[in-house]
Subunit: 330 residues, 2 copies
DNA sequence: TCTCCGCTTGACAACGTTGTCAAATTGAAT
DNA sequence: ATTCAATTTGACAACGTTGTCAAGCGGAGA
């Protein structure tokens, strides 16, 4: 590999002048610049970023630590968003998948710090409270799709309440008055946030909250199937079901079809997650709330690069909105 | 950040001695080593990998350029395999998603070369011929799930023929003698390789190749549906269908159900890809050939790190086997 | 005690780049 | 022609580490 000195010798100038050309510094005459550029071309010279980073004592790297994100289809968009935001800032992302194992996480943080990353984003597969590795805070950091139990770390999460609210408002706007919810497991931010949104939306329409219509499962198809069967057999069954995710919705579809009812005419169904393979392939297509994975990844990197001046001091967090994806099930 | 010199001063030794301790070099007395280790602990010192890389003129980075892999659920395992292989070698992966845009690819290669990567893997979402960016060969490189048209670059690809062969042999072993194939688009390595495997398997069972039973589509659900309908209406319909991928199989399921036939009793169905969300959630579960994505990613990195002495000179390539995932549809 | 050898330690250069500062050159104004 | 300021260029140090080599030290054998 040619170095800056080779270029200088080839162009007949000092290597400092070459440095100036490379970095587009002022005070280089056009003639000299051309000479240098030609030499760079001739020698197929590429600046050695490692050496540059060494001298300037900053790197163009940002770390991204994920738990199982890489393996799952949906939250993978976090990585994509982060990747693309980094790319537009000329930064490279160092992605490490730890499968959530604490020792791996600590090792990953260490590896990133040794490499002098400008910051670290720590992302999880689904929205939850986490205890990130201690050394994480040795670099500027941000939590993505999760938050620290103590709440002092900057975080970017989905606005679950708005999601639940908008989903329910959508069903209301379609004329439904008896709206059920088959939610995920209690205690999770997603479950509780969406539940609150659901209640708020009902309130906004002067509808009473009916406990019989609200059920909690484990985010699986089977839960959706089971609870949908129960709900449909109520004396006064719901005309719409808001599901905690698309897999639950898939189960609801199965139950509704089995009972000989039609979607959306007899029951409208809305999901959460917008998992392409499910939502777009169910018949009818599933209306669902897309979580802002891509945007969360993007915002995290923008925060770390300082491209956007988000104030996340003192436990403040960014809540990004969920987006209604309208298909045929509502 | 503390440097090696700070540690040396704190421990009362020369900074070279600290370097020796860090790198586990011999010729350091235990007493000194302990002193140094304590100083490292005290100052929370972490070696600066950037500086080390600068001095040793190698880096612990390998680049991974992908087209749309990140966005798609299935071939994402390539990244995972690469990631984990890199991790076990203490190497960090620099992943760039280019969406297949040539200018982005060239820029990505440049960015990686500037960062002095030890090698570059270039992976595609599905098995095909590619024309990778010219500068790719400025570093050790390998193609993953693709190959160069001219054939001179090292490549790791799935063994499509073995896949088609094993899939068909599996159906034969289940007693089927009239086996159809709904394949992908002609001209693609996957399509042609699996077709050849299918023919070989028939031959191995002394069965004639019947053109009427072999169909080509575009890898979509609709193609599977359409061709399955045609096949089932033949005077002598097949008792088993080998599908070019799981989406096609999904369409076949729909057609078979609609015609009132049962899987696997009336028709056995086998797919390709093992897309969890489809294969595991269809009823009955879909038997399918899993492509060796994870292994391809892993092998690519092992090749680049030299952890495994694969000889890929002169256009030789590694073909990794597809794996039968048995579920209930056969 | 002296010599020699092997182990331990340290001084210094080097990696390829950018920052600092001074020297050289140019051009305008006198 | 001379001066002065502004522009252009280059010499050198510095970043934090590892490689090279020489010096110091301790112990065994004479």
């Amino acid at each position: 590999m040619a170095t800056i000195k080779d270029v200088a010798a080839h162009a007949g100038v000092s290597f400092k002048t070459v440095s100036r050309v490379i970095n587009r510094h002022p005070h280089v005459t056009d003639a000299v610049r051309q000479k240098v550029l030609r030499a760079i071309e001739d020698l197929d010279y590429r600046p050695n970023i490692v050496a540059r980073n060494m001298r300037t004592r900053k790197t163009e790297y940002i770390g991204l630590i994920t738990d199982q994100i890489m393996t799952t289809p949906f939250s993978g968009a976090i990585i994509k968003g982060a990747q693309e935001a980094a790319w537009t800032s000329g930064i490279m992302l160092l992605t490490v998948n730890t499968d959530g194992q604490p020792e791996l996480e600590a090792a990953a943080v260490n590896m990133l710090l040794e490499r002098q990353v400008a910051g670290i984003a720590y992302a999880t597969m689904f929205h939850k409270a986490v205890a990130p590795p201690a050394k994480l805070t040795d670099a500027p950091c941000i939590l993505v799709d999760c938050f620290s139990a103590s709440g002092e770390l900057p975080a970017i999460v989905p606005d679950e309440m708005q999601g639940g609210y908008d989903a329910t408002r959508h069903l209301l706007s379609r004329g439904h008055r008896r709206i059920a919810m088959i939610n995920g497991k209690r205690g999770y931010p997603g479950t509780e946030g969406r539940l609150n949104g659901y209640r708020k939306a009902l309130e906004s329409a002067d509808l009473a909250y009916d406990e019989a219509l609200v059920r909690f499962g484990d985010w699986w198809q089977e839960d959706g199937y089971h609870h949908a069967c129960c709900l449909m057999k109520l004396p006064d069954p719901p005309t719409a079901i808001c599901c905690g995710n698309d897999r639950i919705a898939m189960g609801v579809f199965a139950a509704v079809h089995e009972l000989g009812a039609a979607i959306p005419d007899d029951v409208a169904v809305i999901g959460f997650d917008n998992m392409e393979v499910i939502a777009a392939h169910l018949r009818p297509g599933l209306t669902t709330m897309a979580l802002p994975y891509y945007e969360m990844g993007q915002r995290a990197i923008e925060y770390l690069t300082g491209d956007r001046c988000d104030d996340l001091q003192n436990g403040r967090r960014i809540e990004l909105p969920c987006l209604l994806i309208q298909r045929e099930s509502t």
